[in-house]
């Protein structure tokens, strides 16, 4: 059962009541199916109303939900014959980034993604999905390998951001992120980018130069975390909820700003409530997008990719 977020408590209370009634009815042999179905209907209405009116901050909490499916889960659900590839051939292997080759919907593809852990122990290994330079350099190596063998690339973004640490700086993460953006800009093969959870700043953008940018319904994408925005611009990190509205980071906002191309629906209540259904919805969208992109000449893709980013935030004047 997924951990309960504060704003989900009314749903939880109804569900508790339903299960109480069920066990009572079973124990005493009394038929309460009418009462139960009324409560179930009510629970569904409450869920729909809560999830239909999420604040930006509530969306942030869902995007960061510890039980939200991660890159590993989607690989399990959506890919066959997946073989993970390790290392950047320069320094090491970054556990915060996974990459490899597998089969998706009939196509051999290269898959690259940030990998967050599901608990503290996993997160210590995965560094909470915050990459070091060798993570971006591994990704670039796999992208170029994909280009050589004419494989499409699928990138899953799920990171709070690049790792603010001494080693990451020493090994030049500014250069690694810039090169990753450049590599994607020039890559002569289809690239699909999906934000599956948190898309935090440059660390996210390093895998973000796609021919299509998809966002899962409750994923977020931003230049800085709401906490960071509040603490730097307002000197008050407790105003993160407010900042979440100001910086426009929900999938809907990113779509309206012309950055995301499509929103991938999630099961009601978020992907963490039903990872398999979430994977199916994502798989459908990826399949359609991929079928469309493989029809386009690689040289043409590079030109179109340039044009796509050239007009983002274009100035109204002249």
């Amino acid at each position: 059962m997924a951990a309960i977020l504060e704003f989900e408590k009314p749903i939880q209370e109804l569900e508790n009541k339903i299960s109480e009634l069920r066990s009572f009815s079973k124990e005493k042999g009394i038929d309460l199916s009418n009462e139960i179905s009324i409560l179930e209907k009510r629970a569904m209405e409450v869920r729909e109303s809560i999830y239909g009116n999420l604040s930006s901050w509530q969306n942030v909490l869902i995007a960061r939900h510890p039980e939200r499916p991660n890159t590993h889960d989607y690989i399990e659900y959506l890919f066959t014959d997946f073989l993970e590839m390790h290392g950047d051939r320069l320094y090491g292997d970054d556990p915060a980034v996974v990459g490899g080759i597998g089969r998706f919907n009939g196509h051999a593809v290269t898959l690259i993604g940030h990998l967050k852990g599901k608990d503290t122990k996993e997160n210590l290994v995965r560094n909470f999905g915050m990459a070091h330079p060798e993570g971006y350099r591994k990704a670039m190596r796999l992208m170029k390998q994909a280009e050589k063998f004419r494989r499409p690339v699928i990138c899953f973004i799920d990171t709070p951001g690049a790792y603010p640490g001494i080693g990451a700086e020493e090994r030049g993460q500014f250069e690694a992120i810039a090169k990753s953006i450049l590599t994607m800009a020039k890559l002569k093969t289809p690239i699909i980018t999906v934000v599956i959870g948190e898309g935090g700043s440059g660390g996210a953008l390093a895998f973000g130069v796609g021919d299509r940018i998809l966002m899962q319904e409750h994923a977020i994408y931003s230049v800085i975390s709401p906490e960071g925005y509040a603490s730097i611009l307002w000197k008050d990190s407790s105003r993160a909820r407010e900042a979440a509205d100001v910086i426009r980071l929900t999938a809907q906002a990113i779509l309206e700003l012309g950055v995301a191309d499509k929103i991938v629906p999630e099961p009601l209540g978020g992907a963490q409530r039903d990872p398999e259904a979430a994977a199916e919805l994502l798989g459908q969208c990826l399949a359609e997008t991929l079928d469309e992109l493989v029809e386009i000449e690689p040289e043409k893709l590079v030109l179109l990719r340039h044009d796509k980013f050239r007009v983002i935030g274009a100035l109204g004047a002249d």
Partner: protein, 283 residues
């Protein structure tokens, strides 16, 4: 992507009200490194490098242009492009107004064409005095247009980076300027043209992680702060003090990310020599 560069700023123009009456406004400046009081006219003559300790003061875009290009050769492009406030934030509007009136610039970058010892170039000069040189849509657009002008005019490109990173008030649109500028630089590279990136204090966040890192030649000014993550954020994350000289130009040169650290007094000459070495054909 954090504008965590204020604490590093060592050059402080003397505030008249804080100093004794013997130091009239606009005549003297105090070195941010050795605290020497310097006559502005001497300081200007020395390209705003401390005469005592060699500390490089931050330059305005127009000072940089004056110290780099041949006199009267500069032709500004897109001078009249005004800032945008895509989310209509009141705080941001106010900050822009203040920045514009204090700096007499419309945005945090000045772009144009000119010559360096007779060699034509397209240049983009960022100005850290304008909202810490942060890159939003207008800065990204002006830099992109400058790169495109270099491509179409078949001229070498020089960009002087000076920025705390992406401009937070424009959200995801600022982040996308990293891609837009890198895409432009990619085309310049495909066209076989020279791009010299000069990293000045500070070059951090999204600017360090985009076009500034991609010069064919990367030069830095002495002691410039360079890097992706802000120092305060790093300290909070790892809970330890950062070593002396961390993220300086020298730090990154030693680790292989910078071709050369060039003092300001030699910068124009160095650029001219590089431009000459890249002329096509035998000379």
């Amino acid at each position: 992507m954090v504008l965590d560069v204020f604490r590093k700023q060592k050059s402080i123009a003397v505030q008249p009200e804080l100093e004794s009456r013997e130091i009239p406004e606009g005549i003297w400046s105090k070195c941010g490194s050795c605290s020497e009081i310097l006559l502005n006219k001497d300081l200007d003559k020395n390209l705003k490098v401390c005469l005592k300790c060699g500390f490089h003061f931050r330059l305005t875009a127009h000072e940089r242009i004056k110290f780099t290009l041949d006199s009267k050769s500069f032709r500004e492009m897109d001078a009249d492009v005004l800032p945008v406030n895509p989310f209509k934030l009141t705080d941001y509007e106010n900050k822009l107004t203040v920045a514009r009136s204090k700096s007499s610039l419309n945005e945090a970058v000045v772009t144009g064409e000119g010559t360096i010892e007779g060699f034509p170039v397209v240049i983009a000069v960022m100005d850290a005095h304008f909202m810490m040189g942060s890159m939003g849509t207008v800065v990204g657009e002006k830099i992109t247009r400058a790169v495109e002008a270099a491509v179409s005019g078949e001229k070498p490109l020089i960009i002087f980076a000076a920025s705390g990173g992406a401009r937070m008030q424009e959200g995801i649109l600022s982040l996308m300027q990293l891609v837009k500028t890198v895409e432009a630089v990619a085309r310049l590279g495909d066209a076989g043209q020279l791009y010299i990136s000069v990293l000045t204090d500070p070059t951090t966040g999204g600017v360090s992680a985009s076009f500034a890192a991609l010069g064919d030649i990367i030069i830095a000014e002495p002691d410039a702060l360079i890097g992706f993550a802000g120092q305060r954020v790093i300290e909070q994350t790892i809970r330890q003090k950062l070593p002396e000289g961390f993220q300086s130009a020298e730090f990154f040169k030693q680790r292989g990310f910078i071709d050369s650290i060039v003092p300001r007094s030699e910068l124009k000459g160095t650029l001219a020599r590089l431009l000459e070495l890249h002329l096509q054909g035998v000379k």
